[in-house]
Amino acid sequence: MKPRPFGYAAVDSVEEAVALLAEHGDDAKVLAGGQSLVPLLNLRLASPAVLIDVRRVDALREATRQHDGASIGAAVVHAAVEDGRVEDPTHGLLPAVAAGIGYRAVRNVGTIGGSLAHADPSAEWPVVLSALDANAVTRSPRGERRVPVRALTTGYFSTVLEPDELLLRIDVPPTRAQRWGFTKIARKTGEFAESLAVALVTLETDGRIAGAELWLGGAAGVPVRLATAADLLRGQAWDDKARREVRAAVALDLDPPVDADGRYRVHLHGVAVCRALDDAIGGQGAL
């Protein structure tokens, strides 16, 4: 289908973008890559009166090293992260995540900021950047603010971003964990995830788990921190007993399943988390 008619404005600066957002507020949507927004327009699930195209705003495409972390402009495309053209303080986690987003043609255009602002519960960046405890920096007529990505998403396709607020960049801090693991389970390569699991792990010298940060995407309207599973892993070896306990703990951290479909999904999430831990501890990524 074709979108309903709208007014289009391409801007060259953050200031211009914010001014237009201030003027048109609820009636306007920011267009960066459009790989999430344009499908909504084509399906007429969204009909903004105004589109503000920020693709030419250079400030939104920059990616720089910040101390030991990185600052990634909101309009940086997934392919730039995939290809290693962006500062990566996570020793390969960010590129590995980017490489699994949709398809290359989508990754060449879709942006990291767009993914966060759209807040699809099955998207990669909300859960991964939550696990990394990144911060989103925004600008509105009221000035700039920093929002922890962990606090950004409030529900399905909902964030704390105001209608006149523009996402500028994501600051990824250096992390204390040593190893990372990431699993995406989808029926078909490139589709939205049925489950996304991120594991950031630190090991003792004898191989037992000193600490873990476990996050799950695709399980709820917001990324889920698996606190119970992470707590029980402290001081444990990663063996079959631990795997069984993690799967049970994941089930506790999610809504209790009421039917066969729910039971399957909870089981799937447990499997995803175990695979992410296998990857992290089995040597996938050293942070």
Partner: protein, 167 residues
Amino acid sequence: MNEPAADVTVHLMVNGAPRRAAVPARTSLADLLRDHLHLTGTHLGCEHGACGACTVLVDGAPARACLLLAAGCDGADVVTVEGLTGDEVDVLRAAFRAEHGLQCGFCTPGILITALDVVRRRPNATADEIRVELSGNLCRCTGYVGIVNAVQRAASELCDRSAEVAR
């Protein structure tokens, strides 16, 4: 341009030639190519980015023409299937013929664009890696085996050719 406009004038390169069109702002790049420039080789299958039939090269990289606004392509360098020429493409085309990489042809323009990018960017891709790279191009006819074989054959031949040149 600062005030939102319902209509836009777009200047862009298409298959090596400068083109200009005045279109409603909601016009996709695909619709610009097909309806205004009469380049109907770029196909519309799903109009939400999943099927790949609309894939074209924009500034050298594959992109979904159904998800790009024409307005957003002002100044862009677009190549469609109609504009695929050169030795590299000849090798690709011959490989698709030899390996029976198409039947009805509906997916083929998007597949060729994606395949060209794969052989350029990942010339040593394995069959499994090629399958992953092609996962965004749906084909209802072939079952994909011929397509994957064609891409591998083209990559291998292009590799041999560049080794020849190097010698």
